[in-house]
Subunit: 326 residues, 2 copies
DNA sequence: ATGAAAGCGCTAACAA
DNA sequence: TTGTTAGCGCTTTCAT
């Protein structure tokens, strides 16, 4: 494989001149043409490892999520990657499965790669312990954030979104509403808080349950809940993965919505409008979350000392049949 | 950030000894302990760029798919990444949107990164033109493959799977069966071939249409088809993305399955069993595809000269209500 | 605008 | 088992 020296010899110039052509440095048009011809001739490809070592910047960012198979993260990841490649950055993607050990491992990996920055959806355990100073690169949290706002973050207005769902259910005549929340993320906690708040304001109890962030765990949790009597008139579920589990549980129990139980949740996943008259959900601006996170990371790189910011995005209530008044 | 020289000084040894500790080379236990203590003390992180440049191996593989948001590729990617990280390899993920220009660009990027190998789902246009020799790294195709078997590949037995769906429909009494296929992948072509073959064997015409690989394109194509008269008794759809479009078209037209039209397809996506009595599909072994591709890549690295192989996996027919005899 | 020289941080060959 | 030396391929001074 040709190296810069070979190109230099073929073009009759010095290696530094070839390097300048590569980096759009000051080179006369005539020489540039010659060098480019030599590059094409030799099928030259710059060696990124060498370039990174010498230049001390990797143009690489890390993206750490819990599971790329969660459609929310799939969509966010795609947006991040598009935006990154458009800016000449490479992305290293990691799945933590909400496992703090894996998180620590991948954070370490990011240090070894000398990444420019990291976009990170941490578990509840890790969220408060991230120290960009110690890590050596800036971190932008997505989806989850430490409550004290001590780190850059792009999040949904979770309390408000949960409250919106409650308000919607209340206005459709539901009173006895249960909530199912993920137990590993700050997001689940905040949505729970919003749920409780809104219910209390209406003078109602706010029965809640928590589940691990998997379809199976949610299905089991909801199945148990359905077996209890009396069952709630409506169920609010805190994300798309759990919502799928809830749907399975209702189907398994032979229950229909909203007749037997209203069902609302988060994440406007592709299947949510296909079931009966559709599921009422809060849609998250997934593309915007990814793009904002990238933008925030770039800004932070330009202004390392600026105080931390949170971008709080609003969800959009998508009303469908599953919460119809009955 | 501490470098190897700092660790060496702190531990009172030479840099090479530190390097040996890093790479599990021959070091006395006593010295190793000292060095590890120094590393911990200084919070040392090896610099991957330097290591790669010097050692001439990157321990990095490329994964090039059309769109990570396609659940098939989401699942395959996750399997590939798990397997890669388990083997100490890093993954660079790229989305081509079936765009040959992007494919070429990312292939170039892989060369610049000096990747160890690439796992690649090429478009139909690119599939025959991949030359690992010229590229400088081995390539394992997934999902799609050149018909001549000239490259390593992990694919589904597409013809057989399509034929299986046809046979199933025939045995349930359907005769007038249409097929909708993706127009950008060899996969679509093969499934089409299997469809035609099976229909012809039954002495039936095999009306087929083709669509770009998006939900919207499929929805439009199927809507048009439904407007035509007479409409087919059953529709076979060649992947999960198109299948979703078909479902939307049927819903929009107020048609139900199997009563108005039977519907079968590929990819056992999470929502396929939720609709009515469920959609009959061919389930692809997505995890196995990812793991096999990784395994194949590793084998190829060990035996560069061995002749190309194809791993052909069988799909699994999952029978649900959408193809019920009527 | 171009070239010469140095060195990024690490590993590998060789020597001891 | 350990140290010394050289150099991976590139960019970046500094000089011209």
């Amino acid at each position: 494989m040709a190296k810069i020296k070979d190109v230099a010899e073929a073009a009759g110039v010095s290696p530094s001149t070839v390097s300048r052509v590569l980096c759009n440095g000051p080179v006369s048009d005539k020489v540039r043409k010659r060098v480019e011809a030599a590059m094409a001739e030799l099928d030259y490809r710059p060696n990124m490892a060498a370039r990174r070592l010498r230049s001390q910047h990797t143009d690489t960012i890390g993206l750490i999520v819990s599971d790329i198979r969660n459609p929310f993260f799939t969509a966010v990841s795609r947006a991040v990657e598009d935006e990154a490649y458009r800016n000449g950055l490479r992305v290293i993607l990691c799945n933590t499965d909400e496992n703090p050990d894996k998180e620590a491992m991948y954070l370490r990996l990011m240090q070894e790669e000398r990444v420019t920055g990291v976009i990170f959806a941490p578990t509840r355990q890790t969220v408060g312990e991230i120290d960009p100073e110690a890590l050596g690169f800036p971190v932008v949290m997505i989806d989850r954030a430490s409550p004290d706002g001590s780190a850059d973050a792009v999040v949904l207005d979770n309390r408000r979104a949960a409250a919106q769902l409650v308000t919607h259910l209340l206005s459709n005549g539901y009173r006895d509403i249960g909530g199912l929340f993920g137990n590993t993320s700050s997001t689940g906690m905040e949505r729970h808080a919003g749920f409780v708040e809104a219910m209390q304001q209406a003078g109602l109890a706010a029965p809640a349950r928590f589940a691990a962030p998997s379809v199976e765990a949610a299905e089991q949790a909801v199945s148990q809940w359905l077996a209890a009597t009396p069952r709630p008139q409506a169920l609010l579920v805190s994300n798309g993965v759990l919502l799928l589990g809830a749907v399975r549980a209702l189907k398994a129990a032979g229950l229909r919505w909203p007749e037997d139980m209203a069902l609302v949740g988060f994440d406007n996943d592709v299947w949510t409008d296909l079931l009966g008259d559709g599921l009422t959900v809060i849609e998250q601006p997934v593309g915007e979350i990814g793009r904002s996170a990238m933008a925030m990371l770039m800004e932070r790189l330009e202004a390392p000392e600026r105080s931390p910011r949170s971008v709080v995005l609003q969800g959009k209530l998508v009303v469908r049949g599953s919460s119809r008044a009955r």
